[in-house]
């Protein structure tokens, strides 16, 4: 029963949502929203589950002095601070000028921006490794990257501005993006779409049940 009931729910909901896609008539037309609402309700309760899990693990780490317990103190302090200030500010806690907003704007936002900025450096290091011409495929990747990168910056234009239109660096970059890149991307998208259908069928028909435990 422990596995049969979830499988049955999966099958019923899965088939119902397939029908909903093709049948606009009530009651099917309302079912997508209904299931979506149910998911939102479950997710809303699960948020508390997540918060409790985070706090429990962090407190446990601090008391047991496990590796990185200092970071757990920061988590707990940050959590308490934001919750306390948010409750103190009341329903308008997110408005500009509130203490909560100040914390968000002066602490959280710069930290987020810093993490995002790291991406620029990592693109450089990843490119350095990926674009080494070790074999034919990597050489093609290197050449494509060379043309696309130069074609997207002004120096690429200045270097090849003497060439007739259609042969300049920007034109080559556009041709790479429009034809081979787009064709490859669409091939992957078609594969993904078929993979989604296949996976959905496996789950709805109860063939794939590993996520419920067992083969």
């Amino acid at each position: 029963m422990r596995r049969e009931v979830p499988l049955l729910i999966c099958a019923i909901v899965g088939f119902t949502l397939i029908i909903v896609y093709f049948v606009p008539h009530p009651p099917f037309s309302d079912m997508r929203d209904l299931f979506s609402d149910w998911f939102s309700v479950i997710a809303a309760f699960a948020i508390y589950l997540g918060i409790l899990n985070l706090l429990k693990n962090s407190v446990d780490k601090v008391f047991r002095k496990r590796s990185g317990w200092g970071f757990s103190i920061v988590i707990i302090a940050g959590f308490v601070l934001f919750v306390f200030i948010g409750l103190y500010e009341g329903s308008d806690f997110g408005e500009i000028g509130t203490r909560y907003y100040w914390l968000y704007d002066r602490i959280y936002f710069p930290l987020m921006a810093t993490m995002f900025a790291i991406l620029a450096f990592f693109i450089g290091s990843a490119s350095y490794r990926a674009f080494r011409a070790r074999n034919v495929e990597a050489t093609v990747l290197l050449l494509a990257a060379f043309f696309v990168m130069l074609g997207r910056v002004p120096i690429g234009y200045y270097l090849t501005s003497w060439l007739p239109e259609g042969w300049r660096m920007g034109d080559v970059a556009n041709a790479i993006m429009t034809y081979p890149q787009m064709a490859g991307q669409r091939a992957v998208m078609i594969g993904i779409a078929l993979g989604i259908v296949s996976t959905s069928l496996r789950i709805i028909l109860g063939i794939e049940r590993t996520f419920l435990g067992g083969e």
Partner: protein, 410 residues
């Protein structure tokens, strides 16, 4: 004297006549130099107003169409807008439902389905429509349309190509599943990323380091996350057999709950429920870069031997993969997010590209029935490739009929 008097009267009469002529001249010229007649005359009304149920909907919408006024784009050319009015009886009060600019000849009167909504449009109730052609301040109304009522359809005809594709694909999948159940074995092309899973877990065991499994930013209702659950089950079973700890920091609390259950079931299946540690599958945060910071911290502190990135990833993909590379981990990635696939290809050791993510569970399990669905998927791809070639030929030679077979209305 008398002659002079008569002459004076005649002169005066002539003067009056001249004055009168001048007056009429002024009057005439005022009229002739006034506005264009198109500005002072109402546009011709629209004709053939037709109201009918909007097709392929839930039954709360009526579409109105008409023939354009003869003064729209021609004639006086003064139509600015068409206003559509509705009433529940031909003699009743017509209320304005909306407007469309000149040149357009259809309007969809989309009502609400909720009875307590002011815009509620009930099904199976007759309504009458009238269209007003308006110029700048002047208008003319059309005849009232015949009654029309809205009703829901039981089948969306615009989605027939999708239905055909789903049926065809399902037939392929079920056929190959049946063949597999009868004992037929299928050859499946090996995938480097899947072949590496066993080695990666073995490496972690030898090094005495944990395995890090990341779902990305996907929520539990995303198919990529669901596919990742199925792979996690296989991976967790192997980690239980090898007695290697698995760490799963989660971005979404529902994903965390499902992941806990999946791993618990896998450990039970492997006969090692004692090895299961719930605290290893934990919630971090639902903020993208805060999550990245947390996972990166775990990578640099715990130095996991193997990192799995399987699920839905966005801008954080490269930050995670590069940090994992710095930490010296073997990395296996897979996502259906097309923009992130190049980052994973560049930064991780093995990448499951798109559909391979969905196929991974079947590959790992090596069960004939699951492999049968992959074979069905391959046949589906063959049909798509064949259709693409035919479509390209049809487009090149102008066979619009063939192209229209694939058009979908949503």
């Amino acid at each position: 004297m008398r002659v002079e008097k008569e002459k004076m009267v005649l002169d005066r009469g002539f003067s009056y006549l001249l004055l009168l002529a001048f007056f009429f001249l002024i009057l005439f010229s005022t009229n002739s130099f006034a506005q264009d007649p198109s500005d002072t005359l109402a546009p011709e009304s629209v004709t053939n107003v037709d109201a009918f149920d909007t097709p392929n909907d839930n039954g709360h919408s009526i579409t109105v169409s008409w023939e354009l006024s003869s003064d729209d784009g021609a004639g006086k050319n003064n139509v600015v807008v068409y206003e559509v009015y509705r009433s529940d009886s031909p003699e009743g009060k017509f209320e304005k439902r909306g407007m469309v600019p000149a040149g357009e000849n259809t309007f969809e009167d989309q009502g609400a389905k909720e009875k307590d909504n002011a815009n509620y449009l009930p099904s199976h109730k007759n309504f009458y429509y009238r269209v007003r052609a308006k110029s700048d301040g002047l208008f003319s109304d059309s005849e009232i349309s015949l009654p029309a009522y809205a009703y829901g359809q039981w089948y969306h005809t615009g989605k027939t190509p999708v239905l055909v594709a789903v049926i065809l694909f399902s037939v392929f999948a079920i056929t190959f599943i049946t063949l597999a159940r009868k004992g037929k074995l299928f050859y499946i092309r090996p995938l480097a990323g899947i072949e590496a899973v066993d080695d990666a877990i073995g490496r972690a065991t030898e090094m005495g380091k944990p395995i890090l499994y990341i779902f990305g930013l996907g929520t539990a209702d995303m198919i990529a996350t669901i596919a990742s659950f199925t792979i996690l089950s296989r991976v967790a079973k192997k980690t239980a057999e090898y007695q290697t700890p698995i760490l799963i920091p989660c971005y979404d609390s529902v994903v965390m709950a499902v992941a806990q259950e999946t791993v618990r079931a896998a450990y039970l299946e492997a006969g090692r429920p004692d090895m299961y540690k719930e605290e290893n599958i934990f919630f971090l945060t639902s903020m993208q870069f805060a999550y990245v910071a947390g996972v990166n911290g775990i990578m640099l502190r715990e130095k996991p031997a193997t990192n799995f990135y399987l699920g839905k990833f966005y801008a954080e993909s490269l930050i995670l993969a590069e940090t994992g590379s710095i930490a010296g981990s073997i990395q296996i990635s897979g996502t259906d997010e097309i923009a992130q696939i190049p980052f994973f290809v560049a930064a991780t050791d093995y990448t499951l590209i798109g559909e391979e993510l969905y196929a991974a569970s079947a590959y790992l399990g090596r069960e004939p029935v699951l492999l049968g669905t992959l074979k069905g998927q391959d046949w589906g791809k063959a049909v798509v490739i064949f259709s693409l070639i035919l479509g390209a030929l049809a487009a090149s030679f102008g066979f619009q009929f063939f192209i229209n077979l694939f058009r979908i209305q949503l």
